[in-house]
Symmetry: C2
């Protein structure tokens, strides 16, 4: 059996309470006693049992991280490691541990969250996604468990703590950038519309067009799932339009890569024939040919600040909901060009 607090207490000729207080570095214990107890802890190679400590103290010092369902996509998405890195870094700084969800379906994830929270496996939860009508989020709110969302909540925005980019504004900015290059016929390949981020970016796209007096065309709007499933024909349709687009906004770099590959096979040149810009600024985007113009949404900071918000919330559950907006900026590379004269 591993050595326990009792062993240490006996060896140091103090009570277990005292050992416990030394572990917690309680100021009411004399330095002399602390030294003595610490020496014994070292000598016996004592390490407190987490379960016992957590049970007694009613806290776990761990954060639950919930990924979106369909793990293949969640993991493949370059967003994931980067946001995790941010979370990791903030958690580590506050000596918190990270517990990762493993559920694969929405149902499983929901059940996992219920048992994580009810079973007190974690002290707080970070939701790595924001979905329309999300049971999990509703549930967390209903039991008043400390949580924070990376992304803007679909409902109850004011009462939920979240960290997000201003996706609507960024998407509008992207459109403006293309407009400034002389483009008018701008296609938009958006993400899954069940995620709020996809809706926000679409809204930004539409608003910017409207501001510029350019009507929104349904045919210019695709979902990235279409491209990933049968990319060639979706892109084909786009390029057989009477006014074929001269610019295209992709929901993320992966989609952009996919599209560029398809275009290449059709001998459509980027950026000469069509300008392409996307979101997320993947590490590899600079290595693509042409190097991809992409929006840096500061994923690491999203994770970092989400964790800080959560830590605050856990510290003081009565704190009002906070919202942090992380800046983003267009990283100009070579996939966008001034519109040629038709």
């Amino acid at each position: 059996m591993a050595t326990t607090i009792i062993d240490v207490a006996k060896e140091a000729n103090v009570s277990p309470s005292t050992v416990s207080r030394v572990i917690a570095n309680n100021p009411r214990i004399s330095e002399r006693t602390k030294q003595k107890v610490r020496e014994v802890m070292d000598r016996l190679d004592y390490h407190p049992n987490f379960q016992a400590r957590n049970l007694a103290a009613k806290s776990t010092k761990t954060i639950g991280v919930i990924m979106a369902s369909s793990s293949v996509l969640a993991f493949q998405n370059p967003f994931f490691p980067e946001v995790l890195r941010g979370i990791c870094s903030a958690a580590h700084a506050s000596k918190y541990g990270m517990y990762l969800s493993t559920g694969e379906t929405e149902e499983e994830i929901f059940d996992e969250v219920v048992s994580m929270t009810q079973g007190r496996r974690v002290d707080g939860i970070i939701l790595l996604y924001s979905k329309v009508k999300d049971r999990t989020m509703d549930y967390l709110q209903s039991i008043d468990f400390p949580f924070v969302v990376v992304g803007r909540p679909f409902e109850n925005e004011a009462s939920v703590t979240y960290v997000d980019n201003d996706n609507t504004a960024i998407a509008a900015e992207v459109v403006d950038y293309l407009l400034s290059l002389g483009h008018q016929d701008i296609a938009f390949v958006g993400g899954d519309i069940n995620y709020v981020v996809s809706r926000d970016r679409l809204a930004g796209y539409q608003q910017a067009l409207e501001t510029a007096g350019i009507p929104f065309q349904q045919a210019y709007y695709l979902q990235d799932s279409t491209v990933n499933e049968d990319g060639a024909s979706a892109i084909d349709a786009l390029f057989h339009l009477p006014n074929r687009p001269t610019a295209l906004i992709a929901h993320d770099d992966l989609t952009a890569y996919e599209i560029i590959s398809i275009l290449e096979r059709k001998e459509i040149n980027v950026p000469t024939d069509i300008s392409i810009i996307s979101f997320n600024n993947h590490v590899l985007s600079q290595h693509l040919r042409p190097p991809l113009t992409s929006v840096d949404i500061q994923i690491y900071d999203l994770g970092l600040e989400a964790t800080e918000c959560l830590l605050n919330k856990m510290d003081d559950p009565k704190l009002p909901a906070t919202h942090r907006i992380i800046g983003a900026k267009i990283i100009t590379r070579e996939s966008c060009a001034r519109r040629g004269i038709d």
Copy 2:
């Protein structure tokens, strides 16, 4: 306060022991009682407290996943999300949870592992890397804690359970492939030599050359850190050699991308002027221009099988160490070509 086993027991008119047995689905409890108790659990929305259960049962049903130090690299490495996906999937199938290390330095990671194991925070550990002279691994072995390594251990290979590719053989195969294309002057950009994987691949490279009767040239061997720090000049040196290489093997796709970008700036064409092949077969490798020939090492399977091995080990700690070798294969794309006539 959350509802406890006592609440359920009272409500169902049984003892807490019985409720506990119903939770564990103990066959000695009658179906009738089970039904009754389950109904009450549902009605009261009861969820067992993990800490209490773990403390009493002396098991945590969670796996600790330890990443290599220097988290920036660990996270950025595309290896990470993919191996995690494999682990996740196997853990989930066995209803295990995942606890992630957050340490940033080797020292911190070591301390984390000590407290994870001594503090019984996890039942088993997966080491996501294998380093030369690794304290952490030595420690795990010394306390006889269930663990498995993704990668080949540097020492005590026979007594440590691990999952790995046969990196030596694969590297040799890569060389043979290039030889078959007529290349003789083959450069090798390897990984950090503190990792066993880097050593194995280098060994495979050297062996294959030797078998082919081609002397190993120190000038043809670089470490990827050199390329990442001051890529241009390292590559420059390579191309100013009297016999400049006509082929190059890169430790991973990221390094290959980096090199290709540098070459492009020098107007050295891949594959006309130099053939490039690398390891890991990143999702995006097919989208690079030219599409990158790369070795698929089946990262997902590495994670999956490592977890299975660990689960077995935890089930029966007396089991002898097992070693699983995961297959790998060269995915031929367009970055390698037959050697031109000089």
